[in-house]
Symmetry: C2
Subunit: 702 residues, 2 copies
């Protein structure tokens, strides 16, 4: 009894101190079992953990998902599959706007460049990696890490890089290295996606906001040798979670900087975020106006515009967080304490040095490299799919001639299938759109590096950016899949002689791009990573290991509860309902419902739960994460965070940071009563594809 009372008290105390107890993106091998038990009296078993871990998916577009049937059905967000929807769309059929529905298996359409990764095993390879890195200086460190990673990854795929994706992941800033082995699914077909008007209801105004009324979901099916795959999957519970209920998410948070120094955060704020915000904000304006020019232009711009809006809100949220002087002051104090602890003892000083100063110096060096690095290597100056293809062809050819371990990491043997998959996908490009994007981005290149920069002179000559873009886009044959396939098997020397203007443009930039990448990686990124490790080691020596690693776009478990929050002293309830969707529908974008939804209104129950918020600690990359209950069943689908979640890159504030999820009831109701896809709803609920499906048997639920 005493023990129980103590635990209860502890749980209450943790709650009232804010939900910091719910902080964390935990690896599946180190879940905070004691914290969960103490707060929620639930102790996930090893089986429970393995079940959730293996059903979860990582999606190539930077999202998460899960298998939800024994027949390879996978769930994620509609906003995670818009690239695929745009790629399979035609001038006649716009699957982004109109939605996609495959009532029968033969109507499921393959996504040309989508990949699902299922985590099969995670092996601790810290000893092997640290042995390889031992005594390496900054210069040799990156190469050594690359070599050992390449070796471990090659062994892991066992020569079958089509079936397996292996990746050495640095956790705790190099405190731990893990070799993740993923089963790779590259034959992924679209099964269902609602109209963007309802998937993205509220559009940019509602993005990162709540109350929210969006059905942001898509269903895919993974195939292997033309048959649906049979993998571990989550049961899709036909119920709503309750307010206060313990829920988990299993997903791939992309990137956090919770361990960064003040200098790194300041550099992010001043040197990185602001120029990025300005670049993408101007691009947004260009795309907006282009989209106004006609329906085809609108279709072309849509996917990019959605991505840009999402990125902008994310970066604005980060910037706002980094302008929060209270939180920054906490970081300063925390950092000073650790630094003082190191400096107070000569042995510690000798061991750790002064990583904070080294990082600050590297950030200063980075300042003068960053613009060039972004413009050339990250291709901000060359916003064009055709340019990307041309560069990829050139680099793949050049890198293949080198020993595997000396290559740029993305062209190592283990990654070449992904490069090939991207390059040899039948992605239609629009000449107008490519010219627009390339022309605009070349003006940004000139503005950033200056009219008199030798590379700018070489690229533009006496021409305008628009002229250079027109000549490259209209003259290239890289838009042809057959031609790309031919080039994929061409040697570098022959490629370099090829007069194709897009290849020549990529070639003209490549030496400079590689040079600044090398500088930036060596003088900045490697230094930050290594010194970050030193700080992590010092922190570990002082505090012991009691935390979770920063996000790495690999699988993590978070726990939390369904709960609203107080916004400017007003409570925000945790659930929205279908009635609210209709109340908010003005008939005009982004608040216009598609005809099906207007027509279905009389037969829908307005009380049906639509979206809800939880205290789970998630960030970008978690989109499409299943929300899982104590039974290990799926009870929702994460598709966003509220505005306060954007500070989650740097810290977790349980008072206001919320994940936003789609309720299962809303999806089942939509499939059965709006889309006439009852069979698909049945597959979700039963976990098995009904035996004989045809258009005629698709129940409408009326």
């Amino acid at each position: 009894m005493r023990a129980t009372h103590f635990l209860l008290f502890f749980a209450t105390a943790a709650l009232s101190a804010g939900a910091a107890a719910e902080e964390g993106m935990w690896t599946f091998d180190n879940p905070p079992l004691r914290k969960i038990e103490s707060q929620y009296h639930f102790d996930p078993s090893a089986d429970w953990l393995a079940h959730v871990e293996h059903a979860a998916l990582r999606i190539s577009e930077g999202c998460s998902g899960a298998f939800v049937s024994a027949d390879g059905l996978a769930i994620t967000n509609q906003h995670c599959v818009t690239d695929c929807l745009a790629e399979i769309s035609t001038a006649k059929q716009d699957y982004v706007a109109g939605g996609f529905y495959a009532p029968t298996q033969d109507q499921e359409q393959r996504c040309p460049s989508m990949e699902l990764d299922q985590l099969i095993a995670a092996e601790d390879v810290t000893p092997q990696v640290q042995a390889a890195l031992d005594g390496k200086t900054d210069d040799g460190f990156a190469a050594a890490l690359r070599d050992i990673s390449s070796k471990l990854e090659s062994e892991c795929t066992g020569g079958d890089a089509h079936a397996w994706n292996c990746q050495v992941v640095s956790l705790y800033h190099g405190g731990e290295y893990a070799l993740y082995k993923f089963r790779r699914y590259v034959d992924v077909r679209m099964v269902f996606a609602p109209e963007s008007a309802v998937a993205d209801f509220g559009g940019d105004p509602d993005n990162f906001n709540f109350p929210r009324y969006a059905l942001d979901v898509a269903l895919l099916r993974a195939y292997d040798r033309s048959q649906p795959v049979h993998a571990d999957f989550l049961h899709f519970a036909p119920r709503d979670p309750e307010a206060g209920e313990l829920v988990f998410t299993a997903g791939n948070p992309g990137n956090t900087e919770r361990n960064w120094t003040v200098a790194e955060l300041e550099s992010l704020r001043d040197q990185q975020l602001i120029p990025s915000l300005l670049y993408y904000t101007e691009l947004r304006g260009v795309l907006e106006q282009f989209a106004h020019e006609g329906s085809e232009q609108r279709r072309l711009a849509y996917a990019n515009l959605t991505d840009v809006d999402n990125l902008l809100k994310d970066e604005q949220g980060q910037l706002l967080a980094l302008q929060d002087r209270t939180q920054m002051a906490r970081k300063v104090v925390d950092e000073a304490a650790l630094r003082d602890w190191v400096m107070a003892d000569p042995a510690r000083r000798a061991r750790y040095g002064d990583p904070w100063s080294v990082i600050a110096d590297a950030e200063t060096a980075g300042r003068s490299l960053l613009t060039r690095y972004r413009m050339l290597e990250q291709a901000w100056g060359f916003e064009s799919r055709l340019f990307d293809s041309a560069r990829m062809l050139l680099r793949a050819a050049a890198e293949r001639e080198k020993p595997n371990s000396r290559r740029l990491p993305e062209y190592r043997d283990a990654n070449l299938p992904a490069v090939e998959q991207t390059l040899l996908s039948p992605v239609p490009t629009s000449v107008d759109y490519e010219e627009l994007m390339l022309g605009w981005s070349l003006t940004k290149l000139r503005a950033a590096l200056g009219e008199d920069d030798p590379l700018v002179r070489r690229v533009l000559g006496d021409h305008t950016p628009e002229q250079v873009a027109r000549a490259a886009v209209e003259g290239t044959k890289v838009d042809s899949l057959a031609y790309r396939r031919t080039l994929w098997y061409t040697d570098f020397e022959d490629l370099a002689m090829n007069a194709d203007p897009m290849l020549q443009l990529a070639l003209a930039v490549d030496q400079d791009a590689r040079a600044v990448r090398k500088q930036y990686e060596e003088q900045v990124q490697t230094v930050l990573r290594r010194q970050g490790e030193v700080i992590s080691q010092a922190r570990f020596a002082r505090d012991g290991l009691a935390g979770y690693p920063d996000a790495t776009f690999t699988l993590r478990l978070s726990y939390g509860q369904v709960r609203g929050w107080d916004e400017q002293r007003q409570p925000v309830p945790p659930f929205t309902r279908l009635a609210g969707l209709y109340a908010r529908a003005t008939g005009n974008e982004p608040f216009a419902l598609p005809p099906r939804w207007l027509e279905a209104r009389p037969r829908l129950n307005g009380d049906t739960a639509l979206d809800y918020v939880t205290t789970n600690d998630i960030v970008g990359g978690n989109s499409g994460s299943p929300v899982v209950d104590r039974e290990g069943d799926m009870v929702g689908l994460v598709f966003d965070g509220n505005i306060h979640s954007l500070g989650g890159d740097f810290w977790y504030d349980g008072d206001s940071n919320r994940a936003v999820a789609l309720d299962n009831s809303a999806l089942l109701t939509a499939l059965r009563q709006v889309y006439g896809m009852g069979a698909l709803a049945d597959e979700l609920v039963t976990g098995h594809r009904p035996p004989a499906i045809s258009v005629a048997t698709g129940r409408t639920g009326r």
Copy 2:
């Protein structure tokens, strides 16, 4: 000899300590005579000062200029008259792109909304103003200042607000109040402006940069009762200044914040600049793409795009300066020293209080008001000339019903002629362009205030921003000058009943806009101004008066020398020459020369000086300032600053801050040898309009 040696030594010491000796934007009644004498052995006489002061002009578009002939000829920059050039252009004749040339007087075209102000007298009214303000609290302070200003200004114009513009100017943050009396010229006609391709050669890439190759000049003529006016003017010297030569500028620096507290600078950096940069960067993207749609769209977008580019570079320069931790640290130290000085003595504490904390609190209050203030009162949410006209008509009608001193300042009797001038100018508007701008800005209104804001709901209802914009723009008659004239004489009550959709839109916003303006003025602006005064008083008590006031867009004198600077350890020479212009001309925008210039090339001397830099301390508003030599003659025309000059809002860094000016030789050469406007060149050199001008007598100089 000893004295001389001392002075020489002093001058050398001042120079080697950086050119801070040349810092300052001095009022003509307090020039730094001793500093000028000690550094340059020149002592401007009272006559010299009066001569320069009275020839200088302030231009309504936010620029400076000067009279340069006895017959009302005035000089400024082409970029200061693009609004006029766009207004007098037609679909057939684009004077921005093609330039404007009036070889005869009857071809000079009136600028519909341009005003030149010539400073006639500046009276110290500090005692009267301080008496009126004495003992006023924050709430009453603004009203009292408004009342006394209104009274003094009314008396000053003597009932003839058409001929006189009077303005109470707060100098030294209220340490001094001056009543400026300007002769107002509203009949201003375009005489000459070169093609934008040469006026703005290098476009946005070269803006705020040097070496520079632009002929950014325009000539206007002021008329009174259909005759050219005869006013004080500067002799236009047919010579180049020499490197190292002492030069002055007389112009109207718009705004500086050299006296601001750290809290104010941080608020500017984080709360004000970044959202403004993002707003205008997106607008830039929209305008860029609109301009690509056709030549008419290009013409419509051009003036706005140029303004936006200029604003963006300025704000980016400010942001970069405010991110300079060294300079900011100096501000922190300077502020702490003054604060400690105040706090160290109970009497001083009682007298001054803690203005720094009060300012910091006001900045916090401002944070929650600023977005609404900008969107509604500054009409960021309503980017439309027609909306501006509608609001102006409504407000003028409402304000005229109040006693003069209770009105919004811009609608006091002294200012009504300017309002009338703006409203009743024949400015053609384009329906497409107005719809584009209003529609876009309404999306920003919604994004900034949120879909659920009551005002947003009221303005948009169930419509999209585009629909609301279309209905207002296509339904309004406010685009008709005749209709505006009718409405100008209509009572508020009748206006409010008028169903014109643009009037109704303006009416729907006006209460909220006025309310947030009142809050922002009272809780933020007034507090900052008053507390800024307290800080100024404390500084004065400690240091005595030895400085210059922050810029106020009123006439100031700066001194400096023709001098290059070192850019990343490479010297930048002070002059560029015509040969350099041709070398840089790629044939493509923004480096494409107009046909006249290509044709004229063989007969031009490539050694002719084109642009040059000086150490004068100038900021935005100084565009069009004459560069004046010891003789009081004009030897150049300021049109820009280099990139380092953008930190000039907060401090003057003599090592790198440079003004960029057009050389006189370039202008004379252009008029005579490129444009066949020899008579105009003669008027410049002789100071008199040649007696009988006709097209036939215009010498071509060939």
